[in-house]
Each structure stands twice: as C-alpha cells, then as structure tokens.
C-alpha cells in the first residue's frame, strides 16, 4: 500500500502547551483515550484544556460528570484558568451529570444515557469524569469489558474523540480491560522529592502515531497544564549545517588563543575557582556578541538580572540598552523546584523570541541548585540533552563552572561534564613571586587548533585583560605553585588587583 492509500489521521490540538510536541503533533481524531493518575494530578484540567481547544457550537463537547467532583464546583475552580472561555458554555460545551443513572441503574442504562445524549448532540469530543466512579459498582469482568467495548465502539462510530478520566493505580495497568481498549493512555504523576513536588506525564500508549517516550515534567499554573518534552519535541529542531564562523570574546589575546574565537554552535566551558573572573569573561562574551549584532541570553541563577547588569556596567559594558532594544534577555531562574525541561523551555522561548545566537549559563552550580532534588540526580544527562538541543539550533553556549582550587590536580569541572563541551577555558590562581596571580589556558577546542600557551591575566575596569606573552620563566604553573626556571626569587614590588569582578 502506498503512502497516499493510507488513511490520514487528523491530529487535534491538545490545548496543552508542549503536549502536542510530545504526542507527535496532536491527538489522533476519534481516538479513545484514558487520562489516569492520582487525585490532584491535573487530569480534569488537562481534559478541560482539550475540550476548550476543540469544542465548537457545530461540533460541541459533551462533558459527562459522574460521582465525585460536582459540575458546579468543577466549573467554579476551572474558570480560574486562563484557557476557560465562558462563552463556550452551554452551546459548545455541555456538562451532563450521570450520577443518578450510575447510582440507581446498571451499566446498560448508563450507556443508554450516553448514547442518547451523543446522538442528540453529535459531539466532536466526549469526556467522562470520572469513569472510575462509573464502573465502581460490583459487576462481572465480562459485563465491564462488554460495557467498555460498546462504549468505545459507539463513540468512535459517532466520530467523537473521547477521554475517560480515572484515578487508577499503576498496578492496575495489567488487568484492567479499559487499558486494552484505549487508543491512548496518559498517565499523570506527582511525587514528593524532599520538599519539592515533581509532576510527570507519561504517554504509555498512543495508537497510530509516534510519541516521545519517557517521563515528561509538567507544571500546573493559572494557564492550566504545561508540559515539557524531555527531548524537546519528537521531531526536534533541525541542526543547522555546521558553521565555520568564529565568535569572539572581544579580548584580542584570548580570541587569538582560541584560533580566532569559538566556533559558532559550540558549547564552551569556562572553569575556575571563585573570583577568577568566569562571570566577567561570560559577560564580555555576551557583550561582544551584541556589538556584532548577535542577540544573546544570559541565564543567571545566583544574582538578579539588575545586579548582573549593574556589575557589567562597572566593566564599561552596557547591558541595559540591549535589553530595552530586545537584543538581550537576562533570565533569572531560581524557583528551586525547576526541571531541566522547564529551564530549557524558558531558554528556548527566549532564544526564539529575540533570535539569540549566544547563551551564557552562569553558573552550572547555580543551575543545579535551582533544580528540584530529583533532577539533580541526573543533572549530567539533562545537561547533555539541553546542550544538544540548543547547539542543534545554532546557539553557542558558554557555561561557567566553579572548581575547587587544588594544588595537586587540575580539574576542569566538578560535574565530569567536559565531554559535553566542545571547548574548555581554564582559569586558575597561581602563586608567583609572593603574589596570588591568575592564569588562563585553553584546554580543549573540538575541531580546531588553539594556543597551548599559559597566559597571565588581570581583571581591570575593562574586564579580563591578558598580560604580556606566555609565561615561559616558570615550571609547574598549572600546579598553582610554580618554580622559577632559574630558581631565583622575585624582586618586584607587590602590585594591587583592581578588585573588579571579584564576586565571580
């Protein structure tokens, strides 16, 4: 059978931001779906979003309520969400209560009640909330299976896309016939992790089309449910062809060390201990981008955007104007129970909004702290996904990471993430001639030559300034306690650092 002979399944918008990407573009029309999860997991809200996104006066939605939350209370709370459009009631969305039939009659009568309303209304969407309470009365397995089978057949024949909502436990997955009949199975979970609550969504089953596997985080805000795909969408974003462009820091000597700058689309790690100037370097990187017409994003976790911009101004870098001009966004991400996917979503939104070419993550330690404890466990994996996705759309990422200064080793990161980065610039303190001075070295540049020089630098009111030529008179510089090649001591007077950027 050729492609054009195959039936085309229309995909309906779910009305849930981020969920369409997870389900491969939308929910299959006429599918029979289950939304399962514990109380408070967002099942009803998700169903309402779908209903409000799809119901019209011509093809309305029928929302059957059974026992449990009354329609009045449901509407009282649901209308607080921004997606709720009261104008859709009652012509496009009709609420029908089936409690009496469920309480007083058998499943056959309940089915008859549903059939009667569906035939009368010709709905595009049917929701039964909660289906679990509808079938709670004791009945044989065969009776239940027959009811579900007939209900599914009838609703599909009437060209309705259906959601049955139920409070199911995961161990019921194997034996309950409802899960066999369903075309789509959406499982919502909320689990406490230390003091945070993490909500996750899984598409356990979706007939007819691919969906993104795994657990996706979601959040319930005043806009309803918002889902964050763990792979940032099924199709992802097409990777731009590799660019040969080099992005400069605007620090001529450093740019020379980097062979002209970092390659566009690279992930750069700037590692160093506290006060070595990581944030200063990152700020110069973003400011140079703006100077060259490359909009940028700075994701900060340890200080507020205003403070970040003010500190930049002490280096002569104006971050206020580009923010006003839409060339720079400083994102402050610090709610302490973030998932990487949410962070990604915020960053991706900002990237798309201003067409950002450069992104600074300052710092990875702050980023990790902002995450919910459960996500810290797989921080490396999450970071990998994030970097892959962002560099895939051509963004050049510079991340700063604090490393503990050691005089016996030369670590690049406390996260063992150097494999995730294309380029590494290492900053460190070194004891020379009775002074604590700073050196810089380019450790790695994937796909390009770079200088092997160890260079001394200072932080001045112009930012990072590389001094003189490479340090040739000392042995063991990267140990932090070098020895002068001729063994002589320093005769120089002590010099003073400007102190600018020492908070970094």
């Amino acid at each position: 059978m050729s492609t054009q002979d195959k039936v085309k399944i229309n995909k309906l918008p779910t009305g849930v931001p981020g969920l369409d990407e997870i389900v491969g573009g939308g929910l299959p029309e006429f599918s029979f779906n289950i939304i399962a999860g514990a109380p408070g997991s967002g099942k009803t809200t998700l169903a309402h979003q779908f209903v409000f996104a799809n119901a019209t006066a011509e093809r309305p939605a029928l929302y059957f309520t059974v026992l449990g939350e009354s329609a009045i209370k449901m509407l009282r709370y649901q209308q607080q969400y921004t997606f709720f459009d009261p104008a859709k009631l009652p012509d496009a969305i009709r609420f029908i209560n089936l409690s009496q039939a469920v309480l007083e009659k058998d499943l056959g009568a309940v089915l008859e009640g549903i059939i009667k309303e569906v035939e009368k209304t010709n709905p595009a969407v049917v929701v039964v909330d909660s289906f679990r309470t509808m079938v709670r009365k004791p009945q044989s397995d065969m009776e239940l299976q027959s009811f579900i089978q007939r209900l599914a057949l009838f609703l599909a024949s009437w060209q309705a896309t259906t959601f049955l909502i139920g409070e199911y436990a995961e161990d019921e997955l194997r034996d309950n016939p409802i899960f066999t009949v369903a075309d789509g199975l959406f499982w919502l979970r909320q689990t406490p992790e230390r003091n945070s609550i993490v909500r996750k969504l899984q598409i356990i089953k979706l007939r007819g089309q691919d969906s993104v596997p795994g657990l996706h985080t979601f959040r319930i805000t005043d806009a309803g449910v918002q889902a964050f795909s763990r792979t940032f969408g099924l199709t992802g974003h097409l990777k731009d062809p590799p660019s040969h462009r080099r992005l400069c820091f605007g620090i001529p000597e450093l740019d020379k060390m980097l062979g002209g700058g970092v390659r566009e689309g690279d992930s750069v790690l700037v590692a160093g201990s506290s006060g070595t100037g990581k944030s200063v370097l990152a700020t110069q990187f973003i400011a140079e981008g703006i100077r060259n017409g490359e909009p940028g994003i700075v994701a900060v976790f340890e200080e507020r955007p205003q403070a970040y911009a003010e500190r930049a101004s002490t280096l002569g870098l104006d971050l206020e104007t580009p923010q006003k001009d839409g060339k720079l966004t400083i994102l402050y991400l610090r709610p302490l129970d973030l998932s990487v996917d949410e962070t990604m979503h915020s960053i991706l939104d900002a990237v798309q909004k201003i067409g950002a070419k450069r992104l600074v993550i300052d710092s990875l330690a702050g980023f990790e702290m902002a995450l919910s404890p459960g996500f810290r466990a797989d921080f490396r994996e999450s970071l990998d996904r994030m970097i892959f996705a962002l560099t895939g759309i051509g963004v050049t990422i510079l991340s700063t990471v604090e490393v503990d200064e050691s005089f016996t080793e030369f670590p690049f990161s406390t996260y063992s993430i150097s494999f995730l980065t294309d380029d590494i610039v290492r900053l460190r303190y070194v004891s020379i001639d009775g002074q604590l001075r700073k050196i810089m070295v380019v450790i790695k540049m994937r796909g390009g030559n770079h200088a092997k020089d160890i260079r001394e630098y200072e932080i001045t009111n112009k930012g990072v300034v590389i001094l003189g030529k490479r340090l040739t008179d000392y042995q063991g510089l990267i140990s932090g306690i070098p020895v002068h090649s001729d063994g002589s001591g320093s005769k120089e007077e002590p010099s003073m650092d400007t102190g600018i950027g020492q908070s970094t």
């Binding site: 329609a71 009282r76 209308q79 009631l89 009652p90 409690s99």
Partner: protein, 146 residues
C-alpha cells in the same frame, strides 16, 4: 441578609416572561413554579438531581428568612418543590408582600449559582432555557444590568 437586588431583578424578569408567555405556566400553577421547573430541568442535567436538590434546599432556607410563609414549602428528593402554589395564593392575598415569595426563592437560587460559578456562566445556563430578550436591559424593571 436579603437577596441581592440584581438577582431579584433577574428573577423578576424570568417570572415576568413566564407570566407574559400566556398560558404556558398554567399546567404548573404559577409563573414561579414554571421558572423553578425550567431551572430544575436545566440544572439537574448539569449538576445531577442530588446537586440540584442541595442547591434548591439551601435557596429555600435562605428565602424563608425573608418570607416566613415559605416555611410551608419543601424541596422533594427529585428536586421539585411542594407547597409553593398554596403559599403564593396566600401571599397574593396579602397586598404588602404580593409576589415576593416567588421572586425571592428564584433570586436566592440564582444567587447561589452566581456565587459558585459566576455571573457569566449563570447567564449562559439561563440563556439555554430562556430567550435572549429576557436578559435585555431594556426589559429590566429598573434598567439594572443583570
């Protein structure tokens, strides 16, 4: 506390409409019963019989605080109301309180709906049972927006 004036106005419009709709209320016995039954039908579908019965009982209790003679009325298990016809006849004979019993009971019921689901949804529900002209401000006794 008395029934909100806006709800009394809205109730009055519904009752006036039914009273003016010729003999449509006659099988019920009064415009109040006719409005009540239309609300019952519409709301039972929406919130279930038990849900409507609870709301109606609460509305009747609140209305009794304003019209003592409503004490003789009661809401049955299926949500219908008994004893309202007889009370309305008595009230009509009392010139001082003419028509108030029905107005207030309906106003209280509508007031509860407004409290729970808001004015927009309450009006949406009513619009499915009554024609739009009933809610036109020009038909309001005092021009107040419902």
């Amino acid at each position: 506390m008395k029934a909100a004036p806006e709800m009394r106005d809205l109730a009055h419009r519904l009752l006036t409409y039914e009273a003016g709709a010729g003999k449509s209320f006659e099988p019920m016995g009064s415009p109040t019963l006719c409005v009540y039954e239309k609300l019952r039908k519409s709301l039972c579908e929406f919130v279930g019989v038990a849900g409507f019965q609870s709301l109606a009982t609460r509305a009747l209790t609140l209305a009794r605080s304003e019209v003592v003679s409503l004490s003789a009325a009661r809401v049955t298990a299926d949500g219908s109301i008994q004893g309202l016809g007889e009370i309305e006849t008595q009230i009509d004979m009392d010139k001082d309180r003419a028509g108030d019993g029905g107005d207030i009971l309906i106003a209280r019921l509508l007031g509860l709906l407004r409290i729970f689901i808001g004015e927009a949804l309450t009006l949406s529900l009513l619009r499915s049972a009554w024609p739009g002209e009933v809610f036109d401000d020009r038909n309001s006794e005092n021009g107040r927006k419902a």
